[in-house]
Every structure is written in structure tokens, then in C-alpha cells.
Symmetry: C2
Subunit: 206 residues, 2 copies
């Protein structure tokens, strides 16, 4: 089995679907998920509208699939690599570093698409994207809190701390980074985010 056949074989249809979704995530990063229409995606990918309809029957199908794809990319590029670090502060730091650097590493032209989806739909009760977005947010928060708890169990963070409070504060640092990255420049924003992370760890250290 050589390198070429080691990958899961894909059909042409799957390849096309992947290419459409990659373009959709990139566009959602810039223009938000509301900008994802069969028409704009047809223009962006150079495919026909009917070709796109064959893959996604509606704007909503396309939006949902693009959110799933963004989450899949995030898991692959941020969570899974962090899981290779030993449980505890090393893993927590790997997760944090992966998270803040992801939009740039993934060449997301408009920043984190999952953040964009949250901004667009979290207040829109009744919209199918609302529930999908809140589910994603809950999963992220839970995984972050779980990583904090492992650092407690590893004896590196204080027993009795509230992992969800620490996760809330970590999330704040990540969002402050996203928000200040353009105002301060990436270098200063990263430096400030790391200083905040270090201070957080010191405050909750065992």
C-alpha cells in the first residue's frame, strides 16, 4: 500500500462536495453564513446552480453542511493535535495556542467561521442554524472545561476550582485576541493573549 492508496478512496461526487464546502467555509469566514446562497457559491466555485442543487437542496442545507465542515476543520486542526500533548497544563496550552492561531493557519480570510456563525444566529431563536450553533458552542465549552479538569486531576491546577469558570475566562482571552488582532497587530495581540493565559494559570495553580 503506497501513500496514494493509503487515503480513503473518494468518489468524484465526494470530491466535488468537499470542494464546494471548502469554498463555503472560506466565504462564511468573510461574509457570514447568510451570504451562503446556491447562487453565490455557484459563482465562487464556477459550478452551475443545478450542479450545486444536486449536492445541497437548499440554502439551509448548504449553511448547515458548511458549519459542520468548519467544525470538522477546527477539530482536526486544533483539538486533535492538542490531544497529543500530555494531559494537564501542556494540553491546555496546546489547545489555547492552536485555537488562537487557527483562523490564520487555516487561511480563513475573515477570521473564525464558527465565531461568525455565533454572531449571526445565537440570538435568532427559531432559526435552524440557532440550535446548530448553540450545540457547537456547548460542545466547545464542555471540551475546554474537560481539558481544565484534566489539569486539576494531573495536580497542576487547584483542586476545587470550577472548570467551567476557568473555561469561561479562557474563552474570553481567545475572543479578546480575535477582537484585537487587527487593531494591535497579530504579534502584540498574541503576546497579550499569552500574558493573560499565564496569569490565568498562575491564579488557578495548585
Amino acid at each position: 500500500m503506497n501513500a496514494a492508496t493509503a487515503h480513503k478512496p473518494t468518489t468524484k461526487g465526494e470530491d466535488t462536495r468537499s470542494a464546494i464546502l471548502a469554498a463555503a467555509v472560506e466565504q462564511a469566514s468573510v461574509g457570514g453564513f447568510e451570504s451562503l446562497t446556491i447562487g453565490t457559491l455557484a459563482e465562487k466555485t464556477g459550478m452551475s446552480k443545478s450542479g450545486l442543487f444536486a449536492h445541497f437542496g437548499s440554502k439551509l442545507d448548504l449553511q448547515m453542511a458548511a458549519l459542520d465542515e468548519a467544525a470538522r476543520q477546527f477539530t482536526e486542526a486544533v483539538f486533535l493535535p492538542a490531544m497529543k500533548a500530555p494531559r494537564g497544563l501542556k494540553r491546555l496550552r496546546a489547545l489555547f495556542e492552536g485555537w488562537i492561531s487557527w483562523p490564520q493557519r487555516a487561511s480563513m480570510p475573515g477570521g473564525c467561521p464558527i465565531d461568525a456563525a455565533g454572531r449571526e444566529y445565537q440570538h435568532q431563536r427559531g432559526h435552524p442554524m440557532h440550535d446548530a450553533v448553540l450545540d457547537r458552542q456547548r460542545t466547545l465549552d464542555r471540551e475546554l472545561a474537560k481539558t481544565v479538569l484534566l489539569a486539576v486531576e494531573a495536580g497542576e491546577l487547584a483542586k476545587g476550582l470550577d472548570p467551567r469558570q476557568v473555561a469561561f475566562e479562557l474563552l474570553g482571552i481567545i475572543f479578546a485576541f480575535y477582537r484585537t488582532e487587527l487593531v494591535l497587530g497579530s504579534a502584540e495581540a498574541s503576546e497579550r493573549a499569552r500574558a493573560s493565559f499565564d496569569r490565568l494559570v498562575e491564579a488557578y495553580r495548585a
Copy 2:
């Protein structure tokens, strides 16, 4: 001079312009500033497109004016009341409390519109809204850092701290609140935001 005449007299044109801008800010809160077109605003306000064109010559004029209006509302509802609190931690806390509660107090149906503008345009170099948004962000960050510095000068926060680092961390708490408000519910999100604020103040106390 009675209460009615104590207000600055406004012309009918100014009243109409204010009504359009109030509707525009509300819509930007939900759908972002890209959703602000002469057409959608005409629909929302029940005015004719030509009537709207008389006030705003283009989509961009309307977007810019709506961002100015959102900033004006924020200043009036958050900054000015906080300035009435004595310099120091009381003012810093008033600013923080006003900031996190503003979108709800102002009945912004989709959350903070200035945050929405940041999400939409901060990565779009070359777009006129990009520069306008970054200017607003710089002003906010500077005012926040200035309020921190006054607490240092009042002897309540530690001499030698970096006010811009504290402002960065405060901004993070505000954004963590905005991001978790729907997932956790307002009550728990506020509680976690206040706990973070208290911990921040303790860490930097004189």
C-alpha cells in the same frame, strides 16, 4: 422654559433621519451592516426608497451613519453614565456593568451592533467600513485603558501595571459574556463575568 422646549428643537427631516438610523442599528444588530440596504430599510421603516435616498445617498452612507449612531448610543448609555461614578474601581466596574448589559437594555435584538461591525469588517482591508470599525475599536480600547489608569492613580490598582493589558483582559470578559449569554443563560453568564472581573481586580490590586 418647560420640559418640552428644553430639548433641542429638531426639524421633521432630522426626526425622520433619527427614525431611519434607529431602525438601521436595530437591523445591523441582527443581520449585520451588510444587510443594510436602501431597499431593506425602506421595507422596515415603511418609507419609499426615494425618501431614503434623500437622507442617505448610498448603502455605504447608510452603513457609516448607522455605525456612528450605534457608537453614539453606546457612549450615551454606557460611557457617560460610568463617568458619573468616582474615578477608580467604582468607575471601572460601572463601565464594565454598563457594557455587558447594554445590548439587552438597548433592546438590540441580535446583540451588540458594534461587535457585529467588527466581525464583518475588521478583516476586510480596503473597505471603507474597515477603517471606521478599527477607529471605533481603538477609541474603545483607549477609553478602557484610561479608566484602568485612573484606578491606578486613585491608588486602587497596582502601580506599574500595564493598563492596556488590563483593558485587553477586561475586553475578554465582555466578549466571553456576549458569547456565552445564550448558551448559559444571562444569569449564569453575568455571574461568571462578574466573578472574572473580581478576580481580575484582585490580581491587579494595589
